[in-house]
């Protein structure tokens, strides 16, 4: 990377050129890179929603969302599913196929439970606000949790393919990369959820942060 600062491109090569990536290498590296680029786009996406939330909080008439304790249990589910995927990755590296399968299935089940829990939380909030969505913080809650949930559901497609692959082959060739990509995605979305949950949907942490920064 540093060569882009020092390279003098107007001078032609006169020695051997470093080897390029070959066919299968390109495919493997590309998926990983694409995932990283996608996650950076997702970060901007959630960051903007958090900034918008904070911007709206600064107004006098801000009314916070009622607290929903179920979110703690949902967070636990997501944390566990992330751990299961990390376990699956570890076992894939060690070549323990049976454990990989168990880890992947457990992660999928826990993610489904997380999504079901989020829907239950929605139901609770709808009951609490009596169907009145005019409070911006309620709107933000539905939007942010909804978009996070959609991302998790999208991840389930990839996880489903990984599970099918794990059950259809006896050997581990290639599955390690698939599991690694799933694990990265899950860890990342867990991180996003922890930030969103910790900052916006539990206590008044974001308000404290904005006070510390001098915005309020």
């Amino acid at each position: 990377m540093s060569s882009i600062f020092t390279e003098q491109p107007w001078i032609a090569d006169t020695g051997p050129i470093a080897p390029a990536l070959s066919g299968s290498e390109i495919a493997l590296n590309s998926r990983r890179s694409a995932l990283k680029v996608l996650l950076s786009v997702v970060s901007i996406f959630f960051l903007l929603m958090i900034v918008a939330y904070g911007g709206r909080m600064l107004y006098q008439d801000w009314r916070p969302t009622p607290q929903i304790n179920l979110l703690w249990a949902n967070t636990g589910m997501l944390l566990l599913s992330s751990l299961c995927l990390q376990g699956a990755l570890m076992w894939a590296r060690e070549g323990r196929m049976q454990w990989v399968k168990s880890g992947l299935v457990a992660a999928a089940v826990l993610t489904v439970l997380f999504l079901a829990g989020q829907l239950a939380a929605w139901q609770q909030l709808i009951t609490m606000v009596l169907g009145d969505f005019s409070n911006p913080s309620v709107g933000f809650f539905f939007m942010i949790t909804g978009i996070h949930g959609l991302h998790m559901a999208g991840g389930m497609v990839a996880l489903g393919r990984a599970i099918r692959r794990a059950f259809s082959s006896l050997h581990l060739s290639g599955i390690e990369h698939t599991v690694a990509n799933c694990a990265l995605y899950w860890h990342y979305l867990l991180g996003v959820w922890l930030v969103v949950f910790g900052l916006l949907f539990t206590g008044n942490n974001f308000e404290i942060l904005l006070r510390i920064c001098g915005f309020i």
């Binding site: 491109p9 390029a20 903007l48 911007g55 107004y59 969505f133 911006p136 933000f140 939007m143």
Partner: protein, 590 residues
Amino acid sequence: MEHIAHDETSFVRPAEVGEMELYHPKTWLGKYVFSQDAKTIAIQYAGTAIAIGMVALVLSWLMRLQLAWPNTFTFIDPAYYLQAVTMHGMIMVVYLLTALFLGGFGNYLIPLMVGARDMVFPWLNMISFWVYFTAVLLLAASFFVGGGSTGAGWTLYPPQAILPGTPGSKAGILLMLASLAVFIIGFTMGGLNYVVTILQARTRGMTLMRMPLTIWGIFVATVLALFAFPALFVSAIMMSLDVLLGTSFFMPAIMTMGSESEHVGGNPLLFQHLFWFFGHPEVYIVALPAFGIVSDLISVHARKNIFGYRMMVWAIVIIGALSFVVWAHHMYVSGMNPYFGFFFATTTLIIAVPTALKVYNWVLTLWQGNIHLTVPMLFSIAFLLFFINGGMTGLFLGNASVSMPLSDTLFVVAHFHMVMAVAPVMVVCGAIYHWYPKITGRWYHEGMARFHFWVTFVGSYLVFLPMHYLGIMGVPRRYFEITGTTFLPDSAHSVNASITIAALVVGFAQLVFLYNLIVSAFNGKKAPGNPWNATTLEWQTEHTPPEHGNFGKELPCVYRWAYDYSVPGIEDDFIPQNVPPRNRQTEVVQ
């Protein structure tokens, strides 16, 4: 004099790039409709973008007819006019220029110019086009729903965008927001492909700093788009929820049509911040590919290496980064802390530095070059003139105190059309003529092309230069008609009429352009593989047009940058990137 030939000596090992597994279509549908070949997808993108762009062109004619001769065309009422303004703006900026530069040129040129067989995710690439196509259909559908398309202005500002007095405040705005959201999803798929292909599928020897500036422009613009579009996506979702669920993200408590709306406590300024956090980088999403392409066009047709290549690359990167911290200069009149205004005016002026640097470098590339006044070169020079003109007026509008009186006048319309409409369109036309022989294997009709150039160039000036004066006089933008005012002399109305005539003529020239492109693709003279004697890899393919997989049995190996034109001591005035140096003395000492 040394003749550099395609003989690979022992100085550099031959290419050993691994093969990429290519998709081979088995049916007609797979080959031409649901194709996974980036070149076919590029043509699909370009065709769709130009088709919807023609709709926007017709809308601009209708607007101009109304402005020039108010009360003459009875089918144009105020609501219709506002709808035309809105749809023209949004289509041209997002659905034409963004899609054409990134989806069209990006798809065609990235794999060819970096020496790859195809994009790294061909299937995703195909899906990306069809999602874009769906977005265009959704947008077009809004013309036909009850209430018509939205008339909120291309910035879609709430609260008026969703209040009953605005045309298309129900289905129209929802279809627009849905279409934008779908567009962004499609673009993200394509954008991932472009970025990863450029980063990972470059052929051997193609270091980042040997990439043609076209690729740098497309690369940085894609990164900008990936990071800026989420802001539009978020605001589209939030506004949709305000319409559908009655949330109050952007909608304050408001009296509308004599009754209180259901909304309380929303913040319209929040939308403006989100919109312009996307909207300003969008200017550069369109401009940066144009900057890159025009650099290559000027270099090839002036037979000279680009002046200050590294500076040009860094200018693109710096402009891209700075474009994220200038957005609120679009909001000077929305009300903001004066210190914010000062900050955004300062960053806006700072971004002029790398931009001016690029202009100087283009001019210095032309300086003492062996300039061939080919059609692509004519369009490149025209780009420079329009861009300099539009950039200068940008200095007026970037300063808060000067911008305020000019805000919402035709001066703004003239400025942004000069800098981000006509200037990039000049590059689009130049680029299409430049790569046409490679894409079709045939020549365009030279006479028609030159007619197209002169009418477009002179006509666009006749449209937008006088518009500055109207703006300074205080003629407002987005007004259905400006009759009955006392502050405007009759000459202002005459100018309006002349602008309309020029706009109609320029529009007609675009029809000639399209006719030329379509007819010449079948009847044009056969073109050789490298008619411009260019150095970049797309001109070195075995077949013209390039076949599926782009290159022959082996991928090319790159030994040099893309700008070896008129190298001293070399007989040919260009050395392609894949020609190895014969020996050190030949190139360095001579």
